[in-house]
Symmetry: C2
Subunit: 447 residues, 2 copies
C-alpha cells in the first residue's frame, strides 16, 4: 500500500487524482506539485471569461489550495517538477520564485502534466499580443488586453475548438475577427457536415474566415501589429494561435516512461504507465478507444477528470479500470450546438472499416412550436452488421445533448435497427413526435 502519493500537475486530471486518492485512502500523504499559480480551475471556461459571459476570473476556480488542504492534501504552487527518478522513487522540484530545488520521495506517482499548445515556427510568434489559450494566466492576459480598449482587430490562427470559441468571445466585444486557416475545414476533427455549419455560423456572426492560407510571419515592433498571410499584411492588434495541442511528456520521457503511437504517455486500463506504480492522466496521456481498444489521444476535460479518478483510486491502492472513450465532443458556437461521438468518416476510412453513412435534417421540436430550428443528424454504421460506429449532430443550443443517447448506443453495441426502436421522450417544446434520432435511424434503414 502506497504511503506517499505525488501528483505532478494540479488542474483537471491531477486535481481529480489527488482528491480521489485521499478519499480512497485517508491515511495516504498526498502532495500536488503545480508549476503555475492555480490548481483545479475550469480551463474550458477561459473563452467565456474572455468573452465576458463569465464576469470574474475567480468564478473559474473549482477548488482552492486551501480547500485541498482542508481535505488533507498538500498543494505546492509555482513548483515545477524537473525530474523523476524512477529507481529511487523521487522527484526533484524547483520552487519559484525563490529558486529553491528540493527532492521529494514517492511511493506512487500520478503524472498529469497536461499538454502544450502547438506554436508554428514562424517569425514573430514571440511578440507581445500573440497568445495561445491554455493556462489560466493566458485567459487573464487576453481579457486584460481587451479591457484596456486598444484591441480592434483580432486574428485567430487555426480553427479548432479554442479558435471557434474565442472567435465568439471576440465578437462579444464587437471586434473585427479574422480566422486564418491552412486547411479548408473549421473543426476538422468533425465530419464535414458539422465543419460546414461551423463555418457558416461563424461567418453569419461576422467572423471573416480565410482558408487555404499560409501564414508567413507575425510582424510588429514590440507588440504584434499584423499577420502576413500569403504575402499580404493583415492588421492585427491581438493574435490567438489555435493550432491544437500536443501532450506534455518531456518529464515522462526523461524518466524512461513509454509513449504511445500518438505521442502521449501510454497507459493501460488501470491508467498505469509501463512502470508499475506510476500513472498518467489527462491531456498528457493516451487512453483507449472504447470501440476498438486501440490507443487513442483525446485531450478533453471530461476525459481528464475521469482518468484522474481512476489513476487516483489505483495509486491509493484501490482497483479501478477505464474502458476507454468514444471521443464524444460538443461545442457551442453562438447559439448553435455541434456534437459528435464515435468515429467520423475520416477515422473509419483511416482504419479501413467498411461503413455506410446517411444524414438527415429534421426539426428540433414540434413543427407548430415557435422558435424551433433545423436539426441535423449524421449516422455512420458498419456495413455488414448495421452496428453504429459514430454520429454527428447540429442543432439549436442544448438540443444536441441528444448526442449522449447515441454515445450510450455505441457503448452498448446497438445497430441502426435498435436505434429506430428507442422510446425517446416527446413533448412539443423539446422534440417533434419523431425525434430527429429516430428519423435518422429510419432513413438509415431506408424505411
Amino acid at each position: 500500500m502506497a504511503k506517499r502519493l505525488v501528483v505532478v500537475g494540479g488542474v483537471a486530471g491531477g486535481a481529480s487524482a489527488a482528491a480521489k486518492a485521499k478519499r480512497v485512502n485517508p491515511n495516504l500523504q498526498v502532495d500536488v506539485f503545480e508549476k503555475g499559480g492555480y490548481v483545479s480551475y475550469g480551463a474550458c471556461g477561459l473563452p467565456y471569461y474572455i468573452g465576458g459571459t463569465v464576469e470574474k476570473k475567480e468564478k473559474l476556480i473549482i477548488r482552492t489550495p486551501k480547500q485541498f488542504e482542508g481535505q488533507g492534501i498538500n498543494v505546492h504552487l509555482k513548483s515545477e517538477v524537473k525530474g523523476i527518478d524512477v529507481d529511487k522513487g523521487e522527484i526533484s522540484v524547483l520552487h519559484s520564485p525563490e529558486g529553491k530545488k528540493e527532492v521529494y520521495p514517492f511511493d506512487s506517482l500520478v503524472i498529469a502534466t497536461g499538454a502544450v499548445p502547438v506554436k508554428p515556427s514562424i517569425p514573430g510568434v514571440g511578440l507581445k499580443g500573440v497568445y495561445t489559450l491554455r493556462h489560466f494566466s493566458h485567459g487573464v492576459d487576453i481579457r486584460n488586453d481587451l479591457e484596456a480598449g486598444e484591441v480592434k482587430k483580432v486574428v485567430i490562427l487555426g480553427g479548432g475548438f479554442i479558435g471557434c470559441e474565442v472567435a465568439e468571445a471576440f465578437r462579444n466585444w464587437e471586434l473585427e475577427v479574422f480566422m486564418v486557416k491552412e486547411s479548408q475545414k473549421v473543426l476538422r476533427d468533425f465530419d464535414d457536415v458539422v465543419s460546414r455549419v461551423a463555418k457558416e455560423v461563424l461567418e453569419g456572426h461576422g467572423v471573416t474566415i480565410l482558408t487555404g492560407c499560409h501564414v508567413d510571419s507575425l510582424i510588429g515592433r514590440d507588440r504584434v501589429e499584423a499577420v502576413v498571410v500569403d504575402g499580404e499584411r493583415l492588421k492585427a492588434d491581438l493574435v490567438v494561435i489555435s493550432k491544437g495541442i500536443r501532450p506534455n511528456v518531456e518529464l515522462a520521457v526523461q524518466a524512461g516512461i513509454a509513449l504511445g503511437p500518438h505521442g502521449g504517455i501510454a497507459t493501460n486500463e488501470r491508467v498505469e504507465t509501463n512502470i508499475p506504480g506510476i500513472f498518467a492522466a489527462g491531456d498528457c496521456a493516451e487512453t483507449l478507444h472504447f470501440l476498438t481498444g486501440e490507443p487513442y489521444y483525446k485531450p478533453l476535460g471530461t476525459t481528464a477528470n475521469k482518468l484522474g479518478r481512476v489513476a487516483g483510486t489505483n495509486a491509493a491502492g484501490g482497483d479501478a479500470v477505464f474502458k476507454g472513450v468514444l471521443g464524444t465532443t460538443v461545442i457551442r458556437i453562438f447559439q448553435t450546438g455541434l456534437a459528435k461521438t464515435g468515429f467520423t468518416e475520416a477515422e473509419l476510412e483511416g482504419r479501413g472499416i467498411p461503413y455506410e453513412t446517411s444524414t438527415i435534417v429534421a426539426r428540433d421540436r414540434a413543427h407548430y412550436y415557435p422558435g424551433g430550428g433545423r436539426f441535423t443528424v449524421k449516422l455512420n454504421w458498419e456495413r455488414e452488421t448495421g452496428k453504429l460506429l459514430g454520429g454527428s449532430m447540429v442543432g439549436p443550443g442544448p438540443s444536441v445533448l441528444r448526442i449522449d443517447a447515441l454515445a450510450v448506443a455505441l457503448y452498448s453495441g446497438l445497430t441502426v435497427e435498435d436505434l429506430a426502436r428507442q422510446d425517446f421522450a416527446y413533448s412539443p417544446p423539446f422534440s417533434p413526435v419523431w425525434d430527429p434520432l429516430l428519423v435518422a435511424a429510419n432513413r438509415a434503414l431506408r424505411d
Copy 2:
C-alpha cells in the same frame, strides 16, 4: 395480400398507419374514417394553442385530407364507424351531417379509435364551460372562450399532463387558476421527486393547488359558475377536467376483439389483435413493456405514431414488429423540464421487483456558466444485478433530454456501473464536466 385497408380513426395512430401502409403497398386501397372534422393534427399542441404560444389553430394540422388524397389515401371526415363485422369483413359507417349509413368491405383493418377522457359522475359536468381536452374542437372552444374575455377564474380538476399544461396556458392569459386534486400528488405517474417539483413550479407561477379534496358538484344556470369542493363554493368561469383517459374500445368489444388487463385492445408484437388481419394502434390499444414483455398501457403521441407505422406495415402485407415501450415521458411546466423512463418506484413495488434507488441534485452546466439551474437525477436499479430499471430527471428546459440517454441504457440492459462509464458530451454552456447522469451513477455506486 390485402386489397383494401380500412383505418378507423385518423389522428396519430390511424394517420401513421394509413400513410405507412400506402408506402409499403402502393396498390392497396386505403380508406380512413374519422368521426371528427380533422385528421392528423398535433393533439399534444392543444395546450400551446390555448395558451397562445401557438397562434393559429391551422398550425397544428400535420396533414390535410387533401394531402392524404395526394398520396392516394381516401379520407372520410365526420364519418363514424358504428360497427365492425369481423366475419363478413365489413364496417358500417354513419356519415354526418347527412345521417347516411353505409357499409364498406375491408381485407385488413386498423383500429385507431383513441381514448376518451374520464369524466367524474358528479352533478353539473354537462354545463357549458366545462371541458375536457382531447379533440381539436375542445382546444378551439376553450381558446374562443378565453378570447371572448369573460373568463377570469379557471378551475382544473386533476393534475395529470393535460392539467399541468393547461394550468400554464391559463397563467399565460393571467387568469386566476386553481387546481383541485383528490390525491396529494401532481403528475402521479411520476416518482415523488418529480411530482414535488411539478407542484412547486406550478405554485411558484401562481397556480393555487388544493390537494386531498373531494369535488361535490359543478353549479351554474346554463354555464358553469362554481365548483363545490368539500362543501365550499369555488368560483369558476371555466373548468377543465384532467382526470386521465381510458381507451376507446366500445367498437372493438362489440366486434369480439379481446381486451388486455388494462382495458385497452390487446395486441401482440405485430400490433395485431386476437383476430388475424385486424390491428390496433394508438391510445385505444395496449402495447408491451420493453423491460418485462408484459401488456402495458401508455397512451402517448410518440407511441401512437410508432405503433401506427408497424400496424400499417403489417396491414399492407409487410412484416414489422414492435418490441415495446419504456414509458419514457417528458413534460415542460413553465421553464422546467420533468422526465422519466422505465419503472417508477411505485411500479417496481407493484411488480414485487427488489430494487435500490438514489437521487442526486447537480447543476445542468458548468458552475461558472451563468443562467444554469439545479438538475435532479433519480435512478432505480435492480438490487441484485445493478441493472437499471428506471429513472427521473428534473432540470431547466431541454436539459432533461438527457432522459433519452437513460432510455437507451435501459433498452440495452446496462447496469449502474456501465452508466458511470459513459462518455457523455461536455461543454460549459451545456453541462458540468461531470454530467449529472454520471454524478448519479457514481452516487449509486457509493463511489
